[in-house]
């Protein structure tokens, strides 16, 4: 839904116009709308359900139809959008140009060898750019269905487990909460968005629905560990209540500066951390790419300490 729709595309990478692309995917566009008025309406009323129609139905009928739609609260959607099968992913980010500049990513060992990590990624509706960034950070990624048990995931011998974003209310996704509880302490865990909310629940916290959610790519989030602010992309309607978490076990790591809601947490002793926003944002800023690095660092230390642990066990 847009104020104005561009009839042409103008970019050296463009292969077709937006309109042709959307037509091909059978996605309608509603344009010439006072979108700002709509935003103000939602800001005042809170999140609303809506119906898009092109068949000339009467407005009252459409309103009735919209009212009849079930609210997002209480809906478990992750398992409905998840991939049904496990698959491997090996594509990295798209290089824009031959520009010599790119971020210094990857972990190069002193001997020049790149250390690789095996990551099991739970698909609750995973965004491809997360997968691409994991690959950029030298991860070999295995995507698994939402309802994969912890046992099955651990059987894949991952260096770390990733919990993806996804739609719907986290609370009814009890299967996921259970898996996470069982993963805790057995492999490093990194969660994003819905993955973060599920971590909150697994650690004993509660979630609630925001009045109109966080959407957009300019949300300031403060990292409480570094006191630095990162500009983040966000798209969520639910939120972890930080006061509901056991502070003895869980540390709040990130907070939204606009409304002071929770944006990140970590376990005080075990290798688990998660953020509410989208560090992989595309579209969106790259300020939070460090979290992927943090994930590989965690996996590196876990592997190292694992080797030590096993060594100690053998010695005993």
């Amino acid at each position: 839904m847009v104020r104005e729709f561009s009839a042409i595309s103008s970019n050296w990478r463009s292969t077709e116009s937006t309109q042709a692309y959307l037509t091909r995917h059978n996605i309608p566009v509603l344009w010439d709308v006072d979108t700002r008025a709509l935003v103000r309406h939602i800001r005042k009323q809170g999140a609303l359900r809506g119906v898009l129609a092109t068949d000339g139905s009467a407005a009252e009928a459409l309103v009735t139809e919209a009212r009849a739609l079930t609210s997002m609260a209480g809906q478990e959607l992750a398992s409905r959008v998840s991939s049904e099968k496990q698959y491997a992913w090996d594509k990295g980010s798209i290089e824009l140009t031959a520009s010599p500049w790119h971020e210094g990513m990857g972990e190069v060992q002193p001997d020049g060898e790149v250390q690789k990590f095996r990551v099991v990624a739970y698909d609750y509706g995973i965004k491809q750019n997360i997968l691409r960034l994991l690959v950029d950070h030298n991860c070999e990624v295995l995507v698994v269905p939402a309802k994969t048990s912890a046992e099955d995931a651990l059987a894949l011998k991952p260096d770390g487990v990733f919990l993806s974003n996804g739609p719907g209310d986290p609370e009814p996704a009890t299967y996921a909460v259970e898996s996470i509880r069982n993963l805790l302490g057995k492999a490093p865990v990194f969660g994003i968005c819905l993955g973060h909310q599920l971590c909150g629940l697994a650690l004993g916290g509660k979630t609630f629905k925001l009045r109109f959610g966080h959407h957009g790519s300019n949300h300031p989030v403060k990292n409480l560990l570094t006191d630095q602010v990162e500009i983040t992309a966000q798209n969520h309607g639910f939120c972890v209540d930080p006061d509901s978490l056991p502070s003895s076990e869980v540390e709040i790591t990130h907070v939204n500066l606009n409304d002071h809601t929770n944006e990140g947490l970590r376990h005080r002793t075990l290798p688990l951390f998660s953020v509410q926003y989208h560090p992989e944002a595309s579209p969106g800023p790259h300020d939070s790419h460090y979290l992927f690095r943090q994930f590989t660092e965690t996996m590196k230390h876990w592997k190292l300490s694992g080797t030590l642990r096993r060594g100690q066990t053998r010695a005993q």
């Binding site: 104020r3 103008s10 006072d34 700002r36 935003v39 520009s99 300019n218 500066l257």
Partner: protein
């Protein structure tokens, strides 16, 4: 991080006079910085030579020095004030360069002053092209291939290697002065020597051309904690090759994908970190090859800039204010967002509208100047327009320029000319683009010729398509949805009226019937995500209106639109003061303006801000919505005045002097009759429409005569004619220019002294605000003449008549508010040249000189207050009240843009050409004049050689001057005629060749630095062909060049003061303390 407590007193350097490339955007940023720092409890010491600024109002800083912006004066002020810190980043390139000089000469270290906001190293890395390129490469980014050179031979070798065209950029200059693009060896040779001369360090960068690439700017901020945000992205409509100050620009960027935008954002973060700008705002420019996406970094400004002012207005995010707070150690997350109040400043604004900036050029004032746009900025001002789409914003922007009426190309323009007109960027290219598309040139061809992004051309095609549909209907037959569509893409009523051959009133009527009216949306930094508390609005044709007008007592003020020569910052100053005064008195104030550089368009200057074009349609719409009790038109210069009568006819309550009085004063015939009735002398005058009539009128008056068009602004197109031929030619030319408006012919008063008077009146009483004596004689435009307050050479009887005439004129015109009168005094007769019953260019200067804020007082008078209730410090002389003068002289001097226009003669005349002004203050007139000259960039010499060449007429009077200069120890050089006259008068002088007489001639001497000052008065109307080259050479080598005898006399007094007196400085707060007289007013008669 909390703010620093080890700093108590902070010095801010302003940007000085308005020049091309550095205009009132730095008044806006400096004012914000002063206010922000003071509100945090810091003591602020401000130095700025420009009296026409809000920042130099005594209440903005704790200590305000209106002194020359040179190292010596700043050192003196630092010695007196002992600030702990210096904030160099809000005063443009001037402020930054001075800070570097103070740091490198050890002044800052000597007095323990810390640079805050940008370290010396960061400034040097950002400003030095080679260091900057190294820094960019170090973070892995790309730059154009280039090298710095310091002589022409090396340059040529390099240019041959890079291949033509090549770009030439001199180091350390303002607004790209001296920069250019050379397409071949020959052009290069000329361009490189010009560039080397322009650079203060005789150095220039020769660079691979990225002509035709897409150009972008990011406005970014960073704080001590390394938090980094992008405030705004700006895309240039004109591709690389046109200076960004001369480009039409659009915010936010329109033709980048997120991938490319984020890559640019990452690059900006890497650059600001590498350059080492720890806190504050920076502007970083990028170019992208449209064919491959290759991105290169062009340059960076480690300070607030013209673009950051634009970005602030475009987003609602006050960059300069935040930059000042960051400089004292605060962090972005600690500073609340003014507009939402609840959220912090540490975020990136979202824009749900499109902003278009269009520059304003004035080549018509500089005969001989090349109007092609290139890497050196030539525009004098700009407008900004906001719309919900690019189409709407573009069309609103075009009508914000003046003249706002639709532009039409001759219908028979051949296509080949159309191609040339759009291929070469010039001020009118945007209009020609529309014409080319209307005439059926394909988008593809237009894109190939212009390299403008296809998306922009597509938008223009869509406008043209709507226009075609509009052309097939009439005002009666237009379907409502088509009319609405036209309004939604920003088409003005006037455009429709022209298309349908009717009046804009008829269009308005049609619209009203169809309920098609604009709504107002808010600029809120967040695209409505949070509630906004600052009513900063723009019009658009949408569903929902957010203006929420109040029921308070309210007054609307019409601003002055884009800066122009003759209508600049002085008028914005007056509009701001009107708003300040009326707010203090409890009114709600509403500002309407379209100039993004100004303080008036800061969202906290007025209670409500409408960022709108100043056309009848747009103003009426705001008035319809707000229904103010009063509308002020007399503070914004000619722009709002031109609307006054029409507004009144439409029922708008204009307050202050009636529009009819303003009209009367502008109508020569009616005004002449009024002067006759009042028995006030005026130069003989008449009007003419055709050459024969002009000849008759001129002969009756007697030569010389001053010829000009009616309704003038800044003396456009005036000439002094000494013979019939010139007069007839002028009238014939004027008739060609447009619809028949009479040409005015006045007796020209030679050797007269000109005087400006600003006065206040309330309908009953009159108070003279200030009497200013011009230093240049009559004939030089009053805006281009230096002047002094109080007068230095007027006799008591002349002053008495000036007071009496002013008093009677104000009463006769029933002035309520301000009035300006220009007088010429010739042989003891006082003539009235012109009366303007409105705020004048001199109001801020008089206010600074006297300590009485005239514009504030005038605004209160317009709202109904009386002079007698205001307790003004007046003295009564000859029964007329006058603001008491003080025990010092305040000299105002103009600043000219000649260094930007190669080949333009610098001689002063009736056409105003100065862009800015400075003020010098001292108890001694000579010193005040010397200070003003220095502040204007003319460094009067203390010793050395002076070249004298005066007209035969002046030869009769110049002996005393020559004797004085000789007595001061100067060696005098003169052409043979003048030298002989000097010898005859007993003054030794060395003869020198004129340009055509042999070598070395006078121009050679100037170029080799053997002359320290030039006094060259024009030789009547037969112009000597080498005079212009002498004056040009003086400008180029930065030698004071004085073109009138009266100014030369003042200069001699200035030099004596420099030689005999020590440097003295004084803040306005101290100067204004000494009240000169007790308040009193005579009873009304």
């Amino acid at each position: 991080m909390p703010k620093r407590t080890d700093i108590k007193k902070i010095m801010i350097i302003g940007s000085g006079p308005i020049v091309i490339g550095q205009a009132c955007e730095f008044d806006y940023s400096g004012t914000q910085a002063c206010k922000a720092l003071r509100s945090e409890g810091y003591e602020v010491v401000l130095v700025n030579s420009n009296p026409a600024t809000i920042m130099t109002d005594p209440e903005i800083a704790d200590r305000t020095y209106v002194e020359p912006l040179t190292k010596d004066y700043l050192e003196k002020i630092i010695e007196i004030e002992r600030p702990q810190a210096l904030l160099p980043t809000v005063g443009g390139q001037t402020g930054l360069n001075l800070a570097v000089e103070l740091a490198e000469t050890g002044v800052l270290e000597k007095f323990g002053v810390e640079l805050i906001g940008a370290s010396l190293r960061a400034i040097k890395v950002a400003e030095d092209r080679l260091w900057f390129k190294d820094a960019i490469r170090k973070v892995g980014l790309d730059v154009p291939a280039s090298a710095l050179i310091n002589n022409a031979q090396d340059g040529l070798k390099l240019a041959d290697q890079l291949g033509y065209p090549v770009v030439i950029r001199p180091s350390f200059t303002l607004g790209g002065t001296g920069g250019s693009i050379a397409y071949n060896r020959e052009e290069f040779s000329e361009a490189i020597s010009h560039a080397l001369d322009a650079s203060p360090v005789h150095e220039a960068l020769v660079e691979e051309s990225v002509l035709g690439w897409k150009e972008y700017e990011l406005e970014v901020m960073r704080d001590f904690r390394d938090n980094f945000v992008v405030i705004c992205s700006i895309e240039n409509f004109d591709p690389m090759g046109v200076h960004t100050g001369d480009s039409i620009t659009v915010a936010p960027a329109q033709t980048l994908t997120d991938k490319e935008y984020q890559r640019m954002r990452d690059a900006a973060a890497a650059i600001i970190r590498e350059v080492g700008v720890e806190t504050g705002g920076s502007n970083i420019q990028f170019a992208i090859d449209p064919a491959t996406g290759r991105m290169i970094v062009i340059e960076m400004n480690p300070r607030v800039s013209r673009s950051s002012a634009l970005a602030s207005k475009a987003t609602g995010f006050p960059i300069a204010k935040i930059a000042a707070l960051l400089a004292v150690g605060m962090t972005l997350d600690e500073i609340p967002n003014d507009i939402t109040k609840k959220t912090p400043s540490c975020f990136e604004p979202t824009i749900d509208y499109v902003v278009v900036k269009i520059p304003k050029w004035q080549f018509e004032k500089f005969a001989g100047a090349d109007s092609t746009l290139g890497t050196q900025m030539k525009s004098v001002g700009e407008v900004m327009a906001i719309g919900r789409t690019f189409k709407e914003a573009l069309q609103k922007g075009i009508r914000s320029l003046e003249p706002s009426s639709p532009w039409r190309a001759p219908a028979d323009t051949p296509v080949s000319l159309l191609r040339e007109k759009i291929a070469t960027p010039r001020p009118d290219r945007i209009h020609w683009l529309f014409v080319a598309l209307e005439r059926g040139l394909s988008s593809k061809e237009v894109i190939e010729l212009t390299k403008i992004d296809p998306w922009f051309i597509q938008q223009m095609q869509e406008i043209v398509a709507v226009n075609r549909r509009l052309a097939s209907v009439t005002v009666e037959t237009v379907p409502e949805d088509l009319l609405r569509e036209a309004k939604r893409i920003g088409t003005s009523d006037e455009q429709l009226a022209q298309l349908w051959k009717t009046t804009s009133a008829a269009i308005r009527h049609r619209r009203t019937k169809a309920h098609i009216a604009p709504v107002y949306k808010r600029v809120d930094t967040c695209a409505a995500e949070f509630e906004s508390f600052t009513p900063y609005m723009y019009s658009t044709y949408e569903d929902e209106d957010e203006s929420e007008p109040t029921n308070k007592q309210k007054i609307a003020i019409l601003g002055s639109g884009p800066n122009r020569i003759g209508q600049g910052i002085e008028f914005d100053y007056c509009c701001c003061h009107a708003s300040f005064a009326l707010r203090e008195d409890g009114y709600e104030t509403i500002m309407i303006n379209c100039n993004p550089e100004t303080v008036s368009t800061d969202y906290d200057t007025s209670d409500r801000l409408y960022f709108e074009p100043l056309t009848l349609e747009d103003v009426l719409s705001v008035v319809d919505r707000e229904k103010p009790q009063g509308v002020i038109v007399q503070f914004g210069g000619q722009t709002p005045l031109n609307l006054a009568l029409e507004l009144k006819r439409n029922g708008v309550p204009i307050i202050g002097t009636a529009p009819e009085s303003i009209d009367l004063a502008e109508d020569r015939r009616r005004f002449g009759r009024l002067l006759d009735e009042l028995k006030i002398p005026q130069p003989k005058n008449g009007t003419a429409l055709v050459p024969e009539e002009a000849a008759r009128v001129a002969s009756e008056i007697g030569f010389p005569v001053l010829v000009r068009p009616s309704y003038v602004l800044g003396g456009r197109a005036m000439v002094i004619a000494y013979d019939l031929n010139t007069v007839q030619e002028y009238v014939a030319q004027a008739a060609l220019m447009g619809p028949a408006r009479p040409v005015l012919i006045d007796q020209f008063l030679e050797e007269a002294t000109e005087v400006d008077v600003d006065a206040l009146a309330d309908g009953e009483d009159v108070v003279i605000g200030g009497v200013m004596e011009h230093i240049e004689e009559a004939g030089v435009h009053s805006g281009d003449s230096s002047c002094v307050l109080p007068p230095v050479s007027l006799s008591p009887s002349v002053l008495a008549r000036i007071r009496d005439y002013t008093h009677r004129l104000a009463k006769a015109l029933q002035v309520v508010g301000l009035m300006n009168v220009q007088y010429a005094i010739q042989r003891d007769t006082v003539y009235v040249l012109e009366v303007n019953p409105r705020a004048s260019r001199t109001v801020p200067y008089v206010s600074k000189a006297t300590g009485v804020p005239l514009a504030k007082v005038a605004a209160r008078l317009m709202a109904g207050k009386k002079l007698r209730d205001m307790n003004l410090p007046v003295v009564v002389t000859d029964g007329v009240s006058e603001i008491a003068v003080r025990d010092y002289y305040a000299v105002k001097s103009p600043v000219f843009p000649f260094n930007k226009f190669r080949g333009v003669d610098t001689i002063l005349g009736p056409e105003m050409r100065s862009t800015g002004e400075v003020m010098g203050v001292s108890k001694n007139f000579g010193q005040a004049f010397a200070k003003a000259q220095l502040a204007a960039g003319q460094r009067l010499p203390r010793k050395g050689s002076i070249f004298l060449s005066v007209s035969d007429h002046d030869k009769r009077h110049f002996a005393p001057l020559a004797k004085e200069l000789h007595a001061l120890g100067f060696r005098l050089i003169a052409t043979r005629g003048t030298a002989a006259a000097l010898e005859a008068a007993g003054v030794p002088a060395e003869p020198v060749y004129k340009v055509n007489e042999g070598r070395p001639n006078i121009v050679d001497l100037v170029k080799t630095g053997k002359v320290d000052m030039v006094i060259n008065t024009p030789l009547g109307r037969e112009s000597f062909y080498d005079e212009k080259s002498i004056r040009r050479a003086a400008i180029r080598y930065n030698i004071p060049c004085i073109t009138t005898l009266s100014a030369a006399n003042a200069a001699a007094r200035g030099i004596r003061a420099l030689v005999e007196q020590s440097l003295e400085v004084s803040p306005l707060q101290t100067l204004h303390l000494k009240k000169a007289a007790a308040p009193q007013l005579p009873s009304a008669d």
